[in-house]
Subunit: 334 residues, 4 copies
């Protein structure tokens, strides 16, 4: 049994992780932590996430001695703010923990990226180089070997899973940038009080247009420019991404279907919607990514749907763990 | 034209007031104010309430000199916190303004009430005595004469409009206390950031059980004990109150119907749902109170529905203004 | 492994059952059926319930020969309309199947009840007598022995779990009838097209006042009259019941707490909210019932929350199965 | 006073029209009609639309003699199905009524269009030629003169108002087709029972991809190809359209801003969101179209928001009426 610790247990992704660790036959939940100065320190996890009452009975502790926690853990999930992950990951790594980081702190190995998009200068370029991008369906081999998995972002997961099969098979004309329109549930903003996320103010709108940090994350890992427009929707969880692309001349519907089928034939967490288009509801509270598409002459529209807290964060982290340790991919997920 | 000022224009009820003043043929909107230290001071009203763009173009000013504002106003609406109304109302009253206070600061003239339920000691007992309770359908005469209208609370409006016709006609057995179960939209908590009202946390639940300050407001003005259980619902606006009462022996359905019809026959803002029961949606964004009921032997269930921001606050304030000045009751409301 | 069949697989409770059977280590899902003339016959279960894609791959068959299905099954779940369950249950029972009926067809053994509240005359009074009411926490022994479990209704489950501990300990004054106000999600009405349940028409309102068939179900099984007022809420799943009762003179808070604790100390699916009150969200998508209460002098308000499709239907059916066969109570549930 | 009739009063747009006619100082509401065989014939309008109780008290009559209704009317609004409008409009026109048709029956004067996209052959090509497309901000002169106004569709209104200023000023490179992603509230599907629109089934998804009839409506009236992807959102009313376009080389932000400002400087119902992006909530229940945009090098994203039942249907019809008769444009709208 692997001793498994969650840092950042007060948030929504932390709660999902705790629940999956609890279900996983090879993991023992050994600790739940929050920042030392968090108001949530000392509370029972079920006082923060009422749905966990009767399932997990454990105090959320303040992280005062990361070193000691590291020494007591085999596996660490970081469900923490980007800056916090940036600072903590090396501590756990140097103590031989296997680390799954759900933040953006180790996702993009590119000069100036963190300064521009995250507002801090990256201090751990070695670890940044060694980190493996945790897009589970596409980086399986690297995930098996790497000690630090930078789990892919929520929008980037939905987007890339919809684009990569076409891109890899050179079916799209990338001179005309793919247009990604995505709508996310409010939980994507985390568990916190803010005017923007207050119930009466939430209302469908676009935000972060041309400036969202997930645009370069997508573009870098695809190796292709994209236009990415995120929206906030009036629902709690889920992301629906609608991606418009230009096909290369002569590409047929059959080629498109084949590309998707080949890419995901042995990937149990991607469901290809045969002729139909995904509905957000079908993926909410599930670890799946649903993908559907329509072709019209030289254009294709791909729709991709995930639960932002699961396939877009926690369950993909657990999927990476299953891959890394060679457990069946669906363990603790379905 | 009456020069009309709104204090507390950054909130939801303030915005509704601004819009109604704008529509009212006898009123001129002369000023919109917030507390001197509010972050919203200096913004255009439409930057705070986007729906007002293109309708009202006015800066929300910091209230630095209430005396000066009072002298420039004929009518003042206080859409402010209880303590703020408590402090400001006398300033406006002493400057001969007609005051409509939407807070709870002048609603209950009872020893110890404000200390117990509002957490402050009331300093203006003279004004408290002179204040008229603004439950528009029931206090018409007093509203015509009074300089200070303490507009009835949201839950108290829905509750009392459903109970008073039966009580006044002695149709209910008050030894068995009326049981009021009410569900309110989230806007009842005001326009602010808080964990409780954050989109992902809002979920139907009861709160303030046996302790909510609207229980004594209802009981005092009815002259009858009640059990009042408020709930937060997952919608933006509206209150639905379901009231269970015991009838006096021998009371017939006909007597019940007659009591409601007599009470509201010339009250255009109360709609009696003939045989049917109110649906929240029908009153949302309207100034109406919908009332329906069912009788079974010795019990009666009355359901009453209002928009908490309108009939439960702003439109009832305007209705009181119309009554006070003798304008047609529906002016600026329908 | 018990060969397990679901009749009524096109509905929401049928889908939940299929998923739980799939997860259960002692059950094999051997068949999913709908009425012979259903438009859903012949479709894959995942075409009806998209969330099941990638999890359960099975055709929903038309039930043309119940006898044959019975002979191929050890366990049958009836997630069918009341009349259909009434007709089918005997067929399965006489073929030695263990039957869990989620409809109301065998819940109330009282003369004239089905004619008055369900609109049909009951033809199987023998089975009605032998049926055990599936309120899992309270009928454990009978459930162990009975071949026909009439799983408790959704509102009755939430209501009785909140009232029985007080009633059994004679803490409440039943001369003043308990007042149950409950709000249910729209899925309670089943999976079908109707004006009432169309998205734009759904809006909080009371219905079935004094006439809902769950009132006599509750009253009969409690042995105490109650006033039951159901409401439709603007959410998909869950029931929150707020129950107002009069305590016997002299009853203390401590006695109340003790009654709840004793009743549920070894019942893992009832969670007592210590001092707090339940939030619907915490039970949605879970098999739990959350119960909280507040006492004020001679009155008590109990709030009880369940997922109507799970603890109010499918998971309680599975819980009864676990009890019946002696499997750990949480198997396939948490 | 113009005698004004609404055909199709049982639907959501019919109700909105009735309310606006009621408010309009130059119009008298002389009749509300539904199809002769409608179940709603004979009901009071407030029994169909509870929010109208206490405001409009009028029976919805079956349309048995259109000729007679025409002779009793000066103005007719057709809030009817496409085929019904197609058949009825000529009757009213030939009786000298001024007709505002909210359906798609007279919007696109193109060979084969109705056969392909509406499934019927158009029989009134003369009227189709004479009809004026009711996109109020862009066809003012023609609207003033025309007897038949084919009010623009909901998606086409949101889309064209966001694209036309750029297109008319030749700021966009139309070789790369504008990509319109739009999300509509469920009321867009009309007031009816259907599985797709049942509360529990509604969930964000794309539909009608590459096949929706609003694509050719937009393309024809713009004179430019577009990719149009409609989505159903989990809200009752409103449309948010996000439009991604390529700018002509060298086009500056200033030129873009200027184009929008010039186009809408004297158009009171278009609100340009200065630097900000529209939020759906701000236009719900209003007659406004909010437009915002962001430029990044050679790309521009325009976001446009309307209430689908108002600016996307009824209030735009009334706006066209105001323009046609020379009344102030905001009459009965704000």
């Amino acid at each position: 049994m692997l001793k498994t610790t969650v840092i950042g247990a007060s948030g929504y992704t932390g709660a999902e992780l705790a629940l999956m660790i609890h279900k996983h036959p090879e993991l023992t939940l050994t600790g739940l932590f929050v920042s030392a100065n968090s108001v949530d320190a000392g509370k029972n996890i079920s006082a923060l996430h009422g749905n966990l009452a009767g399932v997990i009975d454990m105090t959320v502790e303040p992280l005062v001695d990361p070193e000691a926690v590291a020494q007591a853990s085999d596996v660490v999930f970081l469900a923490t703010a980007h800056e916090v992950s940036h600072d903590l990951a090396p501590v756990f790594l140097e103590n031989d923990c296997q680390v799954f980081d759900l933040s953006g702190a180790f996702r993009v190995n590119q000069d100036g990226f963190y300064t521009e998009f995250y507002g801090f200068e990256h201090q751990h370029s070695d670890w940044l180089k060694q980190a493996t991008y945790g897009l589970a369906e596409w980086n399986q081999e690297a995930i098996q070997k790497s000690q630090l998995i930078a789990v892919a972002g929520c929008y980037p997961t939905a987007s890339q899973l919809g684009i990569k099969p076409l891109l890899e098979n050179q079916l799209i004309d990338t001179q005309q940038w793919p247009v990604i329109n995505a709508v996310s549930g409010v939980s994507g903003a985390g568990r916190k009080a803010s005017m923007t996320n207050s119930f009466c103010e939430v209302s469908l709108h676009a935000y972060g247009v041309f400036t969202h940090r997930h645009q370069p994350e997508i573009a870098t890992h695809l190796g292709c420019d994209v236009i990415f427009t995120p929206h906030l929707g009036n629902f709690k969880r889920g992301i629906l991404a609608t991606i418009t692309m230009k096909l290369q001349p002569g590409v047929t519907e059959q080629q498109v279907a084949q590309a998707f089928e080949q890419a995901y034939q042995d990937k149990p967490l991607v469901r290809l919607a045969d002729g139909d288009l995904p509905r957000l509801q079908n993926v909410q509270n599930t670890p799946f990514c649903d993908i559907g598409w329509k072709v019209s002459n030289e254009h294709i529209i791909v729709v991709s749907a995930i639960d932002n807290l699961l396939k877009g964060a926690s369950s993909q982290a657990m999927q990476c763990l299953n891959i890394h340790y060679g457990y069946p991919e669906l363990t603790a997920l379905v």
